[in-house]
Amino acid sequence: MAKKKKLRLIAEMTRKIRAYQELKSRPRESQKYALDYETMTRPLTGKRLPVLAWQDVRRESRLFSLLAGLRLFGVGRLFTRKSWLEDHSEPSYWQITKVKVDYTAENMDHGQAWGILTYKGKVESEVKEVDKVMYHDWRLIPKHMEQQIKEFEPLPEPPVRYVPYPPLLRAMLLAQQKKAVGGSAMTEEPALPLQRNVIFSKDYFRRQEEERQGKAGTAV
């Protein structure tokens, strides 16, 4: 064995203090997402917004700019995004349930929000954090239009179609089945479903992150 490692207690303490100070000096939402409308740059990082977004940034508003002017910060109201309105014909909207405002912002313009998403007419069951809150893309659905938008019923999904496998793969599958069964019992034709089961979705990665964070705990 090599010589005993020295117990560097002060270094350990310094490391903890530095991690704590880093935690405390994280930039607030209002500082991170502040924007200079003349030059289209973020003052914190100095980065410029993509050109295709400039027109939207000038014309539309962020979610919290709309929430700041509503009672109880718009809890229970519906909000759409202009990009959804353009891309999908079925209505998609967020119903806000919880709001955490960044009170250091001058116009209460930033923060985090949670709500229930209805994407393309399909209502989800869980409350999730609202994605892309700081995008200049949001529109409030006025109360007299809420009923009209909620009443939309999505069409039922068409049944999954099945298609025969390519010949070599089919032969391999049949051979495998024959070996497993161990006889010449007539097995049914293997069919390939024309449906994509997405395993690596955004939800999956988010859950992985949360589990990892839960196990590791905080840095300090």
């Binding site: 014309r59 539309e60 508003s61 700041a68 002017g69 509503l70 009672r71 109880l72 910060f73 309105l85 709001v99 405002v101 009170y103 250091t104 116009n107 209460m108 529109r139 409030l140 006025p142 109360k143 007299h144 239009m145």
Partner: protein
């Protein structure tokens, strides 16, 4: 106080006689029982020293600790002079910019507006209401009614329409009393024939539209028509984005088309619904103005190349398409107005008179409901306040016990 209120009503009655002669003086506003502050004053109060409260709040803010909503409400309850109203405004601002901004209570805002009205600081109340983002003033319906009523009594219809605009921005046209009061304020303001800027027109149009959608009678339909016409004018001049940005309005183009659709619905409907004549006149004036504006635009185009570029920044291709539809709208409007006249669905009473009639019929019943609702709400607020005081006491006792 009763004598001065009576005098005010007489003065207002003189003004009313120019519009409609046969209605009584006091019935078309909120009755004295509604605006009476006896029930509010009768609740139990805690006399606190304002300087002490201010000191505690300053110290808590310096230490970056959250101030409880109870402290703020105590401060506002114990205001006793005009200067203290200004100080309270500062503390409301600070509270809104603290981590506890969510917990600003309804009764705090209600008492703030009551105190402002009591000490003659109505412009302060209007200022906090307009900057509701910075102060967090989101009054409930009863408070809005009180505020609009106080402005109507003075005859200050411009400020009353500002308050109605705020009601529209908060989408609080739920109670029939609020709807009647706001339509009255808007009607009176329009009857004075003011010079309106584009943003004022937009606000008026939006308030008329949202209020009119709630009423199912000829008054509501006329309001919807006028509102759609105003918004269509703004859409024509500045594009659809200038219409719905910052307002709870639908983003679909074609507000003038919506106005004509209202007229078609009235023409096709079999019931008693009519449109008042002066709204139709107003809309035809508007359309003529727009037509002449677009003609001068097209003739002056060659000389002003730079201004065109600026306009194109604001207007999309879709907006330009809408502009091109204007002559079509004008011709359809003429057709529909002649059709309505032939069907006898044009009411010769003015907008103002329609509101007054409706107020006479429905205001009493609406007021009674409101007052009962207000009493229940007062009790609920009292219960909540006692709960908060209890919680504060328990917290203090816990803190005292801790060092032992």
């Amino acid at each position: 106080m009763a004598a001065s209120m009576f005098k005010r009503c007489l003065n207002a009655a003189v003004k009313v006689k120019t519009f409609s002669s046969c209605f009584l003086a006091r019935r078309w506003l909120l009755s004295a029982a509604y605006t009476d502050s006896k029930a509010w004053e009768a609740r139990e109060k805690e006399p606190q020293n304002l300087a002490v409260l201010a000191n505690t709040m300053d110290r808590t803010y310096e230490r970056n600790l959250p101030v409880s909503s109870l402290t703020l409400s105590r401060f506002i309850d114990n205001i006793s002079s005009r200067k203290e109203v200004d100080q309270a405004e500062y503390y409301i601002y600070k509270f809104r910019h603290s981590p506890n901004c969510w917990y600003l209570r309804d009764w705090t805002i209600h008492s703030w507006i009551r105190q402002c009205l009591k000490y003659g600081a109505r412009d302060k109340a209007l200022h906090t209401l307009k900057n509701k983002v910075q102060y967090g003033t989101f009054p409930d319906d009863f408070t809005f009614n009180l505020l609009i009523n106080s402005y109507i009594k003075e005859g200050d219809f411009k400020s009353a329409s500002f308050v109605v605009e705020e009601v529209m921005l908060q989408e609080a046209f739920d109670l029939p009393s609020t709807q009647i009061l706001s339509l009255y304020a808007l009607g009176s303001y329009l009857a004075t024939r003011p010079q309106l800027t584009v943003s004022e027109e937009r606000a008026l149009g939006a308030s008329l539209l949202t209020c009119g959608l709630k009423q199912d009678n000829s008054l509501g339909l006329s309001a919807q028509l006028l509102g759609n016409a105003f918004l269509g004018k703004v859409e024509n001049l500045k594009g659809i984005h200038a219409v719905f940005k910052g307002m709870p309005l639908f983003w679909g183009r074609g507000y003038l088309g919506q106005a004509l659709a209202v007229m078609e619905r009235v023409a096709a409907a079999s019931g008693d619904a009519k449109l008042s004549k002066d709204t139709l006149d107003y809309v035809s004036n508007l359309l003529q103005e727009l037509e002449s504006a677009s003609e001068t635009d097209s003739s002056g185009e060659e000389s002003e190349g730079e201004e065109d570029k600026k306009k194109e920044d604001l207007l999309d291709e879709d907006d330009l398409e809408e502009q091109a539809k204007l002559p079509e709208y004008v011709s359809r409007f003429k057709e529909l107005s002649t059709q309505l006249e032939s069907q006898g669905k044009v009411d010769s009473t003015s907008f103002q008179d329609l509101v007054t009639v409706l107020a006479q019929e429905n205001l009493e019943a609406a007021e009674k409901l409101d007052m009962e609702e207000y009493k229940n709400r007062l009790q609920a607020w009292e219960a909540e306040r006692r709960q908060l005081i209890q919680r504060e006491k328990e917290l203090r006792e816990k803190l005292k016990k801790k060092p032992e």
